[in-house]
């Protein structure tokens, strides 16, 4: 343990005791100790001169940081709806039984902890789990049995079967972004040749819009940042791919990382930034080593560092920051807070990051896919890009497809592709509904399968989850409302409290205790959340309920109790403790339904 402590002290001094790195220090402590011990909090507090309670506030914000020791094997099952559809719950129960573990609590011998976590982005190869940060995909009974044995025998993770940790790219339909290759440095060279102004014009002509879903013009964003008065600027790549059902950034970072870094460097050169950050979600920690190696190769090739490709004064480098289990950090201003080592609470806007972002300096925050697209546009030109797609959505979009289909994986389509085309291609039959754009997205019924993926119609960062006729969509609603409850940052009243009330009402419906009064309540709470929440997460967290109440009312109405009103609790069951204490079980000790 002393060795670990000195490791952490070395890390602190090597990085100049940076407050911005607090979350990174905490992630290191979590990784080395399996938790963040009190004495390490005190160490950070002393060395960084940050109040201990503030540090604990950061620890308590992030789901992957713990104050109590976890097991030597810290196992977290991905609990997205697609994992559930693939039967993860039976596998969780099986492993808990086999290892005699209660979910969420370390076993008495501190050997193992079994818990669940939000979508880990392995939806096309689920069910999946994370063990000490490593992904195990394609779980089944055999794998669970083996994992149980490996844990009991304390086999180090490095000696587990390699096949466990294979995560495939699963690219089912490549189009221009995934198949038209560029040489490393080609985009940077074309920026050097053309100059920033010309390049930004090309970028504007290309019509590239942000791939995170909001669709803001990339050229406009980059120009605003470039023109903002400042002595420093920053480029941030948002790789906090947390939207349930999305995994295309994982594939891009696994097999196209050079293109992504190229796009970030291009951006740095175009807007006048010298520092870039890749904010990598904690679930993708297993990609970190390869990504660091790619960065080093690019430094060695003078594609990063000072005087890039010999261009005097073109300086840019990239650091990777890890997230730690907080969906909200995918929201750009929360991401910037997290990047500064703080709790991921979304900021007030205005000001927007392009004028006041990281360290209050003008900052570009773009999606992984946006940077990749920008790099290729710099090489192949605007026409290459805008000759495909629809009128207001040029180019292609990467879709992450999972759920009830025979060929889940990554599909790259020109914008304007219809849902029914996608369903045909991925081998979905007998489809009841498609969830587009993740938990906060839209639930599309069969009658609307003619709708198109585009900023004009269905805008999405790329999550497509397919549900066949056998599925109960209320399972999806339950999963999503629990997800939003868990992922709410807790800052504003409507999301913190309203989201919890909503989750409770969904549970009430599922338990068969709800009445039509409760459905009206859900609509009202949803309205309050939509209209008063502080950020986009809160404003859209009620969507899964509101969408399905509108498009799939049967999943609710068929479960309603046939009364005007029913309380949230069962009166007779509430008397059980009193009956036990008094030893009574006669008729007078019960309240029976009329």
């Amino acid at each position: 343990m002393k060795v670990i402590k000195s490791k952490i002290e070395t890390l602190l001094s090597e990085t100049n005791y940076s407050h911005d790195l607090l979350l990174q220090y905490l992630c290191s402590a979590q990784y080395l100790y399996s938790y963040v011990p009190e004495r390490i909090v005190r160490l950070f507090a002393d060395k960084l001169d940050i109040p201990p309670a503030k540090i604990l506030g950061v620890v308590d914000f992030y789901a992957f940081l713990h104050r109590e020791a976890r097991g030597d094997f810290d196992i977290m099952f991905s609990d997205s709806i697609t994992d559930r559809m693939l039967g993860n719950q039976a596998l969780i129960d099986k492993l808990c039984m086999k290892l005699a573990v209660e979910p969420g609590k370390p076993r008495n011998d501190e050997r193992v902890t079994i818990d669940v976590t939000s979508c880990t982005g392995i939806c096309d190869q689920g069910p999946a789990l994370l063990v000490n940060g490593m992904v195990v995909s394609n779980l089944d009974d055999t794998r669970i049995d083996l994992i149980g044995d490996l844990v009991e025998s304390s086999t180090p993770i490095c000696d587990w079967p390699e096949a466990f940790f294979v995560v495939e790219d699963n690219i089912q339909r490549p189009d221009m972004l995934l198949s038209d290759d560029i040489d490393n440095g080609a985009a940077i060279q074309s920026l050097i040749n053309d100059g920033s102004s010309t390049f930004l014009e090309i970028l504007e002509q290309s019509g590239l819009r942000g791939r995170g879903g909001a669709g803001f013009s990339t050229a406009t964003k980059w120009r605003l940042c470039r023109n903002a008065q400042a002595d420093e600027r920053y480029v941030v790549c948002n790789a906090d791919e947390g939207e349930p059902g999305t995994f295309k950034d994982r594939v891009l970072l696994n097999s196209y990382a050079d293109n992504v870094f190229e796009g970030m460097t291009l951006c740095g050169g175009a807007v006048g930034a010298e520092k870039g950050y890749l904010y990598l979600r904690g679930e993708y920690r297993y990609l970190l080593k390869d990504l660091e190696e790619t960065l080093q190769k690019r430094r060695d090739a003078n594609l990063l560092g000072n005087n890039i490709l010999g261009e005097e004064g073109f300086n840019f480098d990239i650091d990777i920051h890890l997230g730690a289990g907080a969906y909200i950090c995918g929201e750009e201003s929360a991401l910037l807070e997290s990047l500064s080592g703080k709790r991921g609470i979304p900021r007030d806007r205005p000001p927007f990051p392009v004028t006041s972002g990281f360290r209050q300096k003008p900052t570009i925050v773009n999606n992984v896919e946006t940077f990749l697209a920008a790099a290729k546009i710099a090489v192949f030109g605007a026409k290459w890009f805008n000759s495909v797609g629809s009128e207001k959505s040029s180019g292609t979009k990467l879709l992450s497809i999972s759920g009830d289909c025979s060929r889940p994986g990554i599909y790259e389509y020109p914008f304007g592709v219809s849902i029914s085309q996608i369903l045909d291609d991925c081998g979905a039959i007998d489809t009841q509904a498609v969830q587009v754009a993740g938990a906060a997205g839209e639930t599309i019924p069969a009658a609307e399968f003619g709708r198109k993926i585009s900023f004009e119609d269905l805008s999405t960062a790329g999550s497509i989850m397919v549900f066949n006729q056998q599925r109960d969509l209320l399972d999806m609603v339950q999963n999503f409302s629990q997800f939003f409850c868990h992922e709410s940052c807790g800052f504003c009243t409507p999301c913190r409290v309203g989201g919890t009330l909503m989750r409770n009402l969904v549970e009430k419906v599922a338990a068969g205790h709800a009445t039509s009064y409760d459905l009206d309540e859900m609509k009202n709470i949803g309205l309050v959340m939509q209209n008063t929440a502080h950020c986009g997460l809160g404003a859209t967290a009620a969507n899964p309920v509101l969408n399905t109440l509108n498009k799939f009312p049967d999943i609710y109405t068929t479960r309603l109790a046939h009364t005007g009103y029913e309380p949230a609790f069962n009166l007779d069951a509430s008397l059980e403790i009193s009956r036990q204490i008094t030893g009574r079980d006669d008729e007078g000790a019960h309240i029976r339904d009329e």
Binding site: P51, P52, A53, K54, L56, G57, D60, F61, Y62, A63, A326, R343, D348, P350, C485, H486, E487, S488, C489, G490, F491, C492, T493, P494, R496, V497, G498, G499, T500, L501, N504, N524, I525, L527, V528, N531, T532, A533, H534, A568
Partner: protein, 249 residues
């Protein structure tokens, strides 16, 4: 410098200066916009959302949104009041707010704003959370049951007292006020009863000890006049903030 720019709240002209939020301008003009986490002495926080208004088809919080020339603000329609009432009800069911047993009753901003929004019941299912009371400090008690996470004590302790006694910890519905001290209790923190952080609490969460019910129920600031006239309980210059109405007191 007086600016001649104006916007309208419920049709009434409100002058404002560059850099003003909607709330700043409204407070100066004596136009009441209900609020809990806002206190004009501090930078806006924007977490309670009670100051929600509608402008140009959008709902925004008045405390942190810049005033824009000629904007039309809806501050009093039924739709806006319904949203605010629901937010109040959410705050009431989230904690354990037992007004008849609270020392702050009658001088509590949560209660006063609830009356203002015509809230008659908590409406939603109570959470009944298990929260502590911390009476370890000789002069100050803190009842976490009544905390509404407005962060005013956090801000005051950090920015005015320069002590950093209070922080928010946790996430989502588990968010909570915590104390920066070795034991996590108030008793061994640096807080003093004269601190701004103690005075600024708009509800009955942070209370000075040894002076209960100094002013009898019935004579307290909100007992006879609504908050729209009397102003904030913790406002330094409450009598000046809503100047037009207070003169009638």
């Amino acid at each position: 410098m007086i600016s001649d720019k104006t916007f309208r709240i419920d049709g009434k002209k409100i002058p404002f200066q560059d850099g003003d939020t909607i709330m700043d301008a409204a407070l100066r003009a004596g136009e009441y916009i209900p609020h809990l986490c806002h206190n004009p002495e501090f930078k806006p926080n924007g977490s309670c959302r009670v100051c929600v208004i509608e402008t140009n088809g959008r709902h925004v919080s008045a405390c942190n949104q810049p005033a824009i020339e000629n904007m039309e603000v809806d501050n009093s329609s039924d739709a806006i009041m319904n949203l605010r009432r629901s937010l109040l009800q959410m705050l009431f069911v989230e904690g354990n707010h037992v007004c008849p047993a609270c020392e702050k009753s009658g001088a509590c901003q949560l209660q006063a704003v609830a009356y203002y929004t015509r809230m008659l019941s908590p409406h939603f299912t109570h959470f009944f959370p298990c929260r502590d009371v911390d009476a370890t400090h000789p002069e100050i008690a803190i009842d976490f049951n009544r905390c509404i996470l407005c962060k005013l004590c956090v801000r005051a302790s950090r920015d005015v007292d320069k002590k950093n006694v209070f922080f928010i910890s946790g996430r989502g519905i588990n968010s909570r006020l915590v104390i920066n001290s070795p034991s996590g209790k108030l008793g061994d923190s640096d807080v003093a009863v004269t601190d701004k952080a103690v005075a600024v609490c708009p509800v009955g969460a942070i209370l000075p000890k040894h002076k209960g019910y100094e002013k009898p129920i019935g004579e307290r600031m909100y007992d006879n006049k609504p908050i729209s006239i009397v102003g904030d309980v913790a406002a330094k210059f409450s009598s000046k903030i809503y100047s037009k109405d207070v003169s009638t007191k």
